[in-house]
């Protein structure tokens, strides 16, 4: 094996932040190289430099021994570097084929559609990336959209593929499929840089791991010679507790009660069917299920973002199903939505402004309609400190923060308001182990302080380690509600797949 990519002493400085500070990295041919690091450690920045999106302030890039002086991604692509970003860059209204050939159309413009489809079929066969070239991207699942991004790279003959947190938005099943693809690519001699915060994934798929901390590379290890605990410690720079420690379960009064709730989607199809459950104070209720089984519709209905067809939603003994969203927030409900960039934040607002996104009208932050920026900044500096949002300059636009730090803004806002009911959808998505440890601690604190928490996650691990009770949703129906202590992975898995009878048999 010989070095395909060499990164030497790369430094990149943003206003007020050294995002990369003398970074070194070597990627061999045909190797899967994982990059680990805390939120804001500089991983995405480094990848963007390798992909030609950012110009480094100093340092050198070499590809197969040749020095690279990239003026933009088009040049990186030309040299055989492909990248799938943390947030996809596809055009939803175009077809798969159109997205793939965009900018490199066979036959120029107007492009040769037949040829394009043929080419794509061929590539998808060669790399085992099955897809329908004529499907519209907006109709595809996240996993398939990602496949389109990967195909885009190989349509342009990539030798090196960069995957920036590819699994953050995938279901466990989709992740397994992606790993299958990655293994096949590796067999064909393609090198892959793989970024993830999930240590078990890194352990499973990578050959080598490079750990970054605060803009620096702190070491490269052979994956098989290390373990998750060592990686976690190296990454955070201290001993990390990977196991959640939970105090005794002491449920109080019912906070949220949902009865016979039915919700339709845009096509008037019943997505939530006669669902009933209760959540008590001092309890974490986990909602497990495969993505797309009605979780989104259920949560949106609870938050007043979607009309319900029938049923009752009771919060602290009063019906709230007719209340507008803002009134529900005022009653002490908090909500961490699934998509931080589209639903949780205004990317072009400052961190400070985002931290008051739901409370700017509250007397704490505005008087007679005039926002009291002194108070807003006081709040921001407190939250930035408490939730370790980096960098600490709260006048930066939220869009300029790293993915994990964006998530921390939402957390600071939603958990920091001390809600009586918190609805958290994938609260730790894209967070590093240290931050996850911290968030789990915060959620448990909230629970011990008498709040009720509805936790929606696609990750069984997270649901199982935090929840006091677990509801499993399949096809819009709550299949069963299990006790958090005794529930097993297998039982939940079967229920998630919809086989109630089998699950009952396992129980017996």
């Amino acid at each position: 094996m010989s070095a395909l990519l060499e990164v030497k002493n790369i430094t990149k400085i943003f206003p007020k932040v050294r995002a990369n500070d003398g970074v070194n990295l070597t990627v061999e041919e045909g190797e899967i190289h994982a990059i680990l690091g805390e939120n804001g450690a500089g991983k995405s920045t480094l990848m963007n430099i390798i992909y030609g999106l950012y110009k480094p302030d100093s340092g050198e890039l070499k590809l197969s021994g040749e020095t690279l002086n990239l003026s933009g991604p088009h040049e990186a692509i030309e040299k055989g570097i492909g990248m799938v970003h943390q947030h996809f860059m596809l055009i939803p209204v175009l077809t798969v084929a159109e997205n793939i050939v965009l900018g490199a159309e066979p036959g120029g413009i107007p492009y040769n559609k037949k040829k394009a489809n043929e080419l794509i079929r061929e590539i998808s066969k060669n790399y085992h990336l099955e897809i329908d070239p004529d499907a519209k991207v907006k109709d595809l699942s996240v996993g398939l959209q990602q496949r389109v991004e990967i195909l885009k790279a190989f349509y342009r003959h990539a030798k090196l593929l960069i995957l920036d947190e590819p699994t953050a938005m995938l279901t466990p099943q989709e992740t397994e499929e992606l790993f299958g693809i990655m293994r096949r690519l590796k067999e064909q001699g393609i090198s892959i840089i793989f970024i993830s915060h999930k240590l078990d994934e890194v352990k499973e798929i990578s050959d080598k791991v490079t750990v970054m901390r605060r803009g620096k590379t702190v070491g490269t290890l052979n994956t098989k010679d290390t373990n998750e605990q060592e990686l976690a410690n190296l990454m955070v720079g201290r001993e990390v507790v990977l196991r959640v420690e939970k105090s005794e379960y002491k449920p109080g009064d019912v906070v949220l009660s949902v009865k016979d709730l039915t919700v339709l989607d845009e096509q008037n199809i019943e997505k939530v069917k006669n669902v009933s459950f209760e959540i008590r104070s001092g309890e974490i209720f986990g909602l497990a299920g495969i993505d797309g089984n009605g979780q989104t519709e259920l949560i949106e209905a609870l938050m007043g973002l979607r009309q319900i067809k029938s049923g009752i939603i009771k919060y602290q003994n009063s019906d709230i199903e007719k209340l507008p969203t803002r009134e529900r927030y005022k009653l002490g409900i908090s909500y961490i939505p699934q998509d931080r960039q589209q639903e949780g934040l205004i990317m072009k607002f400052s961190v400070a402004d985002n931290l008051i996104l739901k409370e700017y009208k509250d007397i704490r932050y505005s008087k007679n309609g005039v926002i009291q920026y002194k108070k807003v900044f006081e709040n921001a500096s407190k939250k930035v400190e408490e939730y370790d949002i980096r960098p600490t300059d709260y006048t930066l636009l939220a869009g300029n923060l790293s993915g994990g730090n964006q998530q921390k803004i939402i957390l600071a806002r939603e958990v920091g308001s001390n809600p009586k009911l918190l609805i958290a959808v994938q609260p730790t998505r894209g967070m590093d182990v240290g931050a996850i440890e911290y968030i789990h601690k915060k959620l448990l604190e909230l629970r011990d302080g008498g709040s009720a928490i509805l936790l929606v996650s696609l990750e069984l691990e997270e649901i199982m380690s935090l929840s006091d009770r677990i509801g499993v949703i399949h096809n819009g129906v709550i299949m069963d509600i299990l006790d958090g202590k005794s529930a097993t992975r297998e039982k939940i898995g079967l229920l998630m797949a919809g086989s109630q009878i089998d699950a009952k048999e396992v129980e017996v």
Partner: protein, 351 residues
């Protein structure tokens, strides 16, 4: 670089590049750019009356530009400011001449407020509700409403109820009590400039310091996240389009009360369209609107003088205006110039 400097950097660069390309065009067509630009400058700022006229020209551009900027801030494209301006002008004129015996401190505010309400209804109620509840695109609806307003004014003035006796299609003069007095005698500069500057400060305060501005900007950047945060998105769409119309309407009335004193029949004032450019160049910042309006006003007054004194056709300023718009809209091209320039500097240092 400080924040302010950074935000005005690109627009200034756009203007500079447009001026440079303008001189290349002049050289290529056989004119002396130095003579042309200096007479342009003298025409705009050379004497007190010239300065006054430039400022006077800026007044309607500032106020209409503010209106357009508010809508832009909320992510909406109010292309019909021209029509809202006409509605404001019509209402201002009518109140100006038809009410007798009012003291000025009632007559002027009455005309202005009525014009603002009319402009707000024209821009906000119909296009705003259409957008908020049916999704009808505001570019189409504001544009259509704009034509309705312009043709309505033709009807009023050409043998309609507002036409003065005689054969010229124009309205009667407004009464003295409705006239906004001039500041510099024998020029067009009236106290309208004070109204414009106060309006700019007000809009700045509204958009950046109040909860209403906060909401409108949030909705402008990301409707989905705003909805998730509990904001009333349709309300904010109607509100921002209404405000946009209110300011365009105010501009029309201020122009009538301060400068024209009666409504003439013409197809366009042009202010509503130039205002879009003004707002674009200002990057929708209300304070920036003042400066960018001044620039376009100066180009306007200066070009006549340049035409007379340097024999450069006045259309050349239109070309420069066009180039400015081009470079503002295509800021990526400016980035390109910047990196090219940087590279060159590095190479120079290296050699």
């Amino acid at each position: 670089m400080s924040k302010v400097l950074k935000s005005i950097y690109m627009p200034i660069l756009a203007v500079v590049i447009a001026i440079i390309i303008g001189s290349i065009i002049m050289l290529a067509t056989g004119f002396n750019p130095v003579a042309a630009y200096s007479s342009l400058f003298i025409g705009a700022f050379g004497t007190l009356p010239n300065i006054a006229n430039t400022l006077a020209n800026a007044v309607p551009l500032i106020i209409t530009g503010l209106g357009v900027a508010i809508a832009f801030n909320a992510g909406l494209f109010n292309i019909g400011a021209e029509g809202q301006y006409w509605i404001g002008a019509i209402v201002g004129t009518w109140i100006g001449y038809s009410f007798k015996g009012l003291p000025w401190y009632i007559h002027i505010p009455l005309a202005l407020v009525a014009a603002m309400i009319a402009g707000g209804l024209w821009g906000g109620i119909i296009p705003g509700f259409a957008k908020a509840y049916t999704g009808a695109h505001e570019v189409i609806t504001t544009m259509m409403m704009s034509y309705v307003a312009i043709y309505f004014s033709h009807y009023l003035l050409e043998f309609g109820p507002m036409m003065e006796k005689g054969s010229v299609p124009q309205s009667p003069l407004i009464r003295d009590s409705a006239v906004i007095p001039t500041i510099v005698p024998n020029t067009q500069l009236s106290y309208g400039i004070v109204i414009a500057l106060v309006a700019a400060l007000f809009v700045y305060w509204l958009m950046y310091k109040t909860v209403w501005g906060y909401e409108m900007r949030a909705v402008g950047f990301n409707q989905r996240a705003s909805k998730y945060a509990g904001m009333n998105v349709p309300f904010n769409i109607v509100l921002s389009l209404s405000l946009s119309g209110i300011f365009a309407g105010l501009a029309g009335a201020v122009q009538i009360l301060g400068v024209q004193h009666r409504l003439y029949d013409s197809f366009t004032s042009g202010y509503g369209y130039t205002a879009i450019v003004v707002a674009l160049l200002a990057k929708n910042n209300p304070i920036g609107v003042v400066f960018s309006a001044l620039l376009f006003a100066a180009l306007g007054t200066g070009s006549q003088y340049m035409q007379l004194n340097a024999q450069v056709p006045g259309q050349l300023t239109d070309v420069i205006t066009g180039l400015i718009i081009f470079f503002v809209a295509a800021d990526k091209i400016i980035e390109l110039f910047k990196t090219m320039f940087k590279k060159q500097k590095k190479e120079e240092l290296a050699s």
